[in-house]
């Protein structure tokens, strides 16, 4: 159920960005954003599964190793798009 909800939310967000959104992303913002989301999802899956596996340390490290770069990529994509949008409206 968790992954179904995540999929629906992400699908809706991507659809909005690709079609009706005010912000038009450049190709490299798309690449950075999708890479970031994949890494974040991978980190979340590994963290949750490691808790079930009773491997808390591994879960925490996997969250850090994959989640942090994922957040950075997604943040760069978001900041770039925001700054560009601000510049265009100014």
């Amino acid at each position: 159920m968790f992954w179904l909800i995540v999929g629906l939310v992400l699908g809706a967000a991507i659809f909005w960005l690709a079609t009706g959104g005010k912000i038009k992303l450049t190709w490299y913002e798309w690449v950075l954003g999708i890479l970031g989301i994949i890494l974040i999802l991978f980190a979340i899956q590994n963290y949750g599964a490691s808790q079930v596996e009773l491997e808390a340390k591994a879960g925490g490290l996997l969250l850090l190793v994959f989640g942090l770069p994922g957040l950075i990529f997604a943040a760069i994509a978001g900041v770039l798009a925001f700054l560009r949008g601000k510049k265009e409206t100014a």
Partner: protein
Amino acid sequence: MPENLTRREFIGELGKLGAAASLVPMVAAGESMETKAFSLGRPGWIKELDEPLTEVDWQQVARYNERHTTRRGFNLYVEQERIDQLGELSSELLSDNLKNDVPGYTLKDRALQRAARGGGASRQFFLDPEKVQGPDTWGVPKWTGTPEEASQLVSAAMRHMGAATVGFVELQTETTEKFIYSVDPDGKELRIEDVELPEETEEYRVIPKKARYAIVYTVQMSEETMARCPTVLGSLTTSLTYTRSQNIQERAQTFLNGLGYMGLAESSTNALGISPALGVYAGLGELSRYNRLLTPEYGPMVRVFKLLTDLPLAPTKPIDAGLYKFCHECKKCAEACPGKSLSFDDEPSWETRGGWNNPGHRAWFEDSVLCRFYQRTYTGTNCGLCFSACPFATKNLASFNRVRNYMAATVPAFDSTFKKMDDLLYTNFPLEFGKPQKDCEEWWTLNLPDYGIDTVQTVRETT
């Protein structure tokens, strides 16, 4: 085609013609109609091979006397006086640890381990367990079908009885038949003769030549329990797996008898034949640095068992899941071995370390005497650290481990990186040499699944 057919008979005859026509291209192309291999339905990146990656020189392989292993023949390699001293040391250690409430050796740990080893009905027979009701008593002919159907049938039945993975080897006189021991653990000679029925006397057991098919199966151990080795608690999962296998074995014999075929099995623990070798040839796994079977589904967390039958079965093929190659780089089991009994060599060798190894194949042979010395002096029970330290001794819920399994099979260049990541993720720092990886007292508070194992794991891999 006969005349005056009913509509049903006419359609039946058409079917026969169709079947014959479908064979024509095969015969024209020169294809033989030999038994096809049976597949375990694994992911595509696990390659099936005609020969295993472990090299074998069949000229040098002879049927091995099980009593030459250190399990049964320790006195062949060590003086009896020393063995007696080790026995006393072992007993003292167990007694002191029990009285001092050492975690993993407390009264509750001892009681549970004893229950796993000896509690419940655990019987083992070479011959059929009893006069089983079968086709004769039910007034029907014995079951017949293609070898592929037979393999499917036996696999489904045995997995439902508790086996994790099931594979099949057709024994060949000059090759794989040599994996059957010449002498069983109880000293009885194992004879393979051209006779109709098996036989057992005080001195020997007779395997009819027609019992050509080895059914090889794994039974899962608990990673979480094995992480508490080397203690009495940690050895619990090994004991429990052996007793579970006895239960599966007797049921498998009864099933085969019920179909109208013989089922010849292990008369005692580790009897009948060499389990890792049969496991490798049945494609259940690959031979590892710790010189045991390493499986793609459960890593080292299995024990391997076998029985023989005259029911024609389609063989399963040896595999390359990248595990044998991974062992070249990894060496983690050897690093964790407190007895210094495992090899650090980069490449496997044809040279054995002693009479407890059977020669004729290229492997990382272990020093079994050192292993037993350590166990008896420092643990008082099984060790198992080589099993628990293995990077593949993980549950495969976390995607990272599934990515590692895939990468090990397809891009071996990353093997050493994955080993280092395993050190970081799953090894406690600082590594307490010869000590359990996880807290023994905590084990009693965990809500572990049945037998401490994940029985859905194989289903997940095969769907």
